[in-house]
């Protein structure tokens, strides 16, 4: 397989996705990713008729569109309950600028 994923790249991708992966399991994850990419490579090798166009979703339908109308929003007290921290008005997060 060309350019197999190295453990270091796994680390990089995990960081971007905010996923914690321990040093020990980097090699294992790299192996799993390489298996998936290997499978995709098999698919890419299939010869397609020239008139088959790429598609971007699992279903072919298009145009699920709604009119520009207001619907009631969720009660603030209710929606803030989903957050780990709030002051009843705002969500609260650790200081962004330190």
């Amino acid at each position: 397989m060309s350019n197999p994923v190295e453990p270091q790249q796994v680390q990089q991708v995990a960081k971007l996705a905010r996923i914690a992966i321990s040093e020990d399991s980097l090699a294992e994850s790299a192996g799993q990713l390489n298996q998936i990419l290997g499978y995709v490579q098999q698919l890419q090798a299939v010869e397609l008729p020239a008139d088959v166009k790429p598609f971007f979703g699992a279903i072919e339908s298009v145009n699920a569109i709604r009119a520009d109308e207001n619907k009631p929003s969720t009660d603030r007290e209710q929606i803030l309950k989903n957050a780990p921290d709030s002051n009843g008005e705002f969500y609260q997060v650790p200081p962004v600028f330190k």
């Binding site: 990089q12 960081k15 971007l16 996705a17 905010r18 971007f56 979703g57 699992a58 279903i59 339908s61 298009v62 145009n63 699920a64 569109i65 709604r66 009119a67 520009d68 109308e69 207001n70 619907k71 009631p72 929003s73 969720t74 603030r76 929606i79 803030l80 989903n82 921290d85 002051n87 008005e89 705002f90 969500y91 609260q92 997060v93 650790p94 200081p95 962004v96 600028f97 330190k98």
Partner: protein, 498 residues
Amino acid sequence: MISESQREAIKFEDVTVIIGLEVHVQLDTQSKLFCGCSTDHGADPNTQTCPVCTGQPGSLPVINQRALELSIRTGLALNCQIARYTKWDRKNYFYPDLPKGYQISQFDQPICGPGQLSVTDAKESFPPRLVNIERAHLEEDAGKSVHDDAGRAKSKIDLNRTGTPLLEIVTKPDMRSAEEAKAFLNELKLILTYVGVSDCDMQHGNLRCDGNINLHIDIDGETIATPIVEIKNLNSFRNAERALSYEAVRQFDAWQEDGKTIGDAPKRTFGWSDAKQETVPQREKEEAADYRYFPDPDLIAVTISEQQIEDIQSTIGELPPQIRERLKADYSLKQYDADVIVSQGRGVVDYFLAVADGCGSGKVASNWVSQEVLRHLGETETEIDQYPVGAEKLTELLKVVVSGDLDQTRAKDVLAEMVESGASVAEASDKLGIVKVDSSEIDSLCQQLIDENEKVVNQIKEGNDKAVGRLIGAARKINPNANPGAVKDRILAMIAGE
């Protein structure tokens, strides 16, 4: 490597400034891009959100029809190719005001493709510039963060703005000065307001702008480029112009100092400091932005038909560049005067056209609209539809001015009275004691002046026509309603023995 002495020989005037812009426009919809929450400003924090725009598990976004239409409308106004098939992608990054951990945006199939906008300066300080638009894509806005400046207290997050529709318009790096960039922004804003897709209110952040800038320097038959800088969040056109001018000089000085070119340094991000009046580097991210775009599996693609495009095109109407040309060609206005009227918006254009057509003189209408009417609107901070003198009434007044029956000064008094009391031309004239002076009265007035001012008459006879000015002053005192132009012509004719 170019040597220091070679660099020192180059002057700032010799370099080419290269500027491209990214403009975010908030589209004028009632509801958000993918849910029914309101887009109104000023509501209490977090009162305009729902499971969709806060990214709760199991919620599904559905695209807003009006946002699509306004995007197509904008694209058509900017001469863009409109996609027949368009889709949405996830732009992945983490920030507290982005609840889903990704922004729904468009990556490789934007709703608007390449277009262009021509920018002309009314004062002709630069030649007309054709600015190519690379693309315009439809995406959702993020929320707002309130940070503690000291960095001690928690940051507060308001998600009311989250999910509001934005159209991001990206230009090619086609502008050659900060002045051109500002002119482009002005023209873009004017067009967007003409076609009614956004109010472009910068104070509310409904139009936001980032600029990319670097320099091209010709040296020894080679062109080298300085590292590109992106200046973020230019919150007014004036600041955009200042920041870009400042940055061009800063890059030139930096290059003279260290000789670094585009290959030697990555693109950097700067902000504009109003307090310091300079561009300041923003904190660099640890790694280069890697957004890992992929198609959003929650949304399906949208197809746009020829019919839809035609229907929208048919409602766009005449745009500022065409109106300027028409005012110049059909109403004999100069570029500058046409620009003054067009830049005030469609309402003032329609007002001008009605008055010009009615009174029969584009020039007279232009003078009165740009001087009297616009001054009043400026002083009272009102719009043309609130101006107390409608187009029909001003037309009536200007007809009398064009025919010469009323002189400019008296007509201005009449207009002031009409503005003040809402009177008609006739009522205002009555109130000011203005009566039409017929030609026999003018004749006897002129005869009286000739008889009483032998000295002046002799000067005129000797060829000094300008001396007649003194008689006009005298005529005013005897009969303030006598038209000075008519008095002047008649006196000169009578002295010439006609």
